[in-house]
């Protein structure tokens, strides 16, 4: 190991690695171990059952939809929070963190109350023939709510640090506002957006509390994967729960790897030769 001037590397490295091992690696290893206790045929039968497949579909589609929505809305919110100061700015800024602070079950119950056919929003939407509660759309809305802060909070600091001279330079070169946003600002925000997207998507995949109240939980249509795992657990079918959970785990890992790779590509320009 290279000699380091700053003291305490061994101790802090040891403590943190032990902690990461205990809290993160061990449970995941247990999960994999449990799932592996099934034979390959049993494993495949469980993870590819019609009910499991339906749950993947609704979970992943809703998570993609929610993440896409938050990509736009979160960027817009971060933009407004950084670029403008308005009465109540501090309140809005604080509200962004609310989905983190609020117990997700509370969020789920409030959203359900709002979006049921006789709720405030639900009754209005019902007039247009749109049903939210107990449909995949409801799942998506619950996911949007709980994952909103990720994009806002990853983009906000980058946007704040953006040198105003870059935009001024682009303006003096004749760029329109749209051209400046698309060619200068957006590329510089891309790494932060990707980080936010991957966190947001991973959170959506695993969300449970906020969704089960609004989803209706009908097998084959509005049953999310996390709930299916929970049901298998309640049936004391631990290997099956672990097997389905491993699919979620792999999906999240693939997503993280993919966005990390895209991020490093987007940041190529910072590498000194």
């Amino acid at each position: 190991m290279r000699r380091n001037v700053l003291p305490g590397l061994r101790l802090s490295l040891g403590v943190t690695l032990f902690y990461v091992g205990l809290i993160v690696v061990l449970p995941i290893a247990a999960l994999v171990f449990k799932a592996a206790s099934l034979g390959p045929e049993d494993y495949w039968r469980i993870v590819s059952s019609a009910r499991a497949l339906a749950s993947y579909r609704v979970t992943v589609l809703a998570a993609l939809g929610a993440t896409l929505f938050n990509l736009f809305f979160g960027l817009a919110l971060a933009w407004v929070l950084v670029r403008y100061r308005f009465p109540g700015w501090r309140l809005v800024d604080a509200m962004v963190d609310l989905p983190f602070a609020l117990p997700t079950a509370v969020a789920g119950i409030s959203l359900t109350a709002l979006f049921t056919a006789n709720g405030w929003f639900g009754s209005i939407l019902a007039d247009f023939g749109i049903k939210v509660a107990y449909t995949p759309l409801g799942i998506m809305i619950a996911m949007c709510f709980t994952s909103l802060p990720f994009i806002v909070r990853t983009v906000q600091p980058v946007l704040e640090d953006l040198d105003p001279a870059l935009e001024e330079a682009a303006q003096s070169l004749g760029g329109s506002d749209f051209a400046i946003f698309r060619k200068v600002i957006l590329p510089l925000l891309t790494p932060a957006l990707l980080a936010g997207v991957s966190l947001s998507f991973a959170r959506c995949l695993g969300e449970f509390g906020a969704i089960i109240f609004i989803a209706g939980n009908q097998p084959m249509s509005t049953e999310i994967t996390a709930l299916l795992i929970f049901i298998r657990l309640e049936e004391y079918d631990y290997p099956a729960a672990a097997a389905i959970a491993s699919v979620l785990l792999i999906t999240a890992l693939v997503m993280l790897a993919l966005t990390n790779w895209m991020q490093s590509r987007a940041l190529r320009y910072t590498v000194r030769s």
Partner: protein
Amino acid sequence: MKIRLDHVVKTFETFRAVKDVSLEIESGELVALLGPSGSGKTTILRMVAGLEYSDGGQIYFGDQDATDIPVRDRGVGFVFQHYALFPHMTVAENIAFGMKVSKVKREKAAIEARVAELLRLVRLENLGGRFPAQISGGQRQRVALARALAVDPKVLLLDEPFGALDANVRRDLRRWLREIHSELGITTLFVTHDQEEALDLADRVVILKDGQIVQQGTPQEVCRDPKSAFVMKFLGDANVIAAEVRDGKAYASGATIAVSGLADGKAELYARPADLDWSLQGPGIPASITRVLDRPDGRRVLATVETGEHLEFDVEPERAVKAGDGGFVTLRRAKVFAIG
């Protein structure tokens, strides 16, 4: 393109940054706005660019009133102190940016040819594919200049263009910018707080203080004939000696100099280090040497006058002087300004 500022005013929340400035810059001229920080020089430049709107007065480009034309339509090239290169674009892409976003559509081949031409002009032929993080500060500033020139601006504006660079690079770039200016003949206005840079580079120097022009002229005019103690001090090292004016002559402890146009009364005498000399005999200002600083081009002597004032002056490298010597400081030339 001739630029004219007509009674321009700019007020920020807390203070008036620019107070009633009128200025004319002839077509093809290279003019320096020189002043200490807070003198309003950058604000003036930004108003000419359109990056800041004036609160009063007019800015003309030629005969056209450009006061309310937004920056993107004003046709200026602006070079920022910290380059403001787009970090995610290569050098060539940076230079091409203005041509790509322009309302005037250009052929891809024409853009590439123009980029190559500009890279040659700024002597960076081989660096087109690098990112800004991969080149040196001096190279970045040259890219910034090429990028500004790419859109064929009517006016080139530079905000402390060499401020972030080290002394040697700065001197090279100065000479080089002068060459480019002679080659292109584009009207150029630049801001600096470095008097040497302004005098080296500019056809005309405009000296600012507290948002107002205090003097303007060719480097020769402002150096040889500073109109105020501020300009005298700001342009270079100056010794200040208390003096008294009587009947067209200024008397300072042991030295006398003829002055014209000054009323009798208290005054201050300003002399550059090269305006003073050292002699073992009088007449002169009696003084004793406290320190001698050796420099490549001579010896800088620090001396204390009997009244406690400190003087600095230069003597030839061969001159034998040392700390503790007593003698007289003689005056070759000096400027006298009334106090108040």
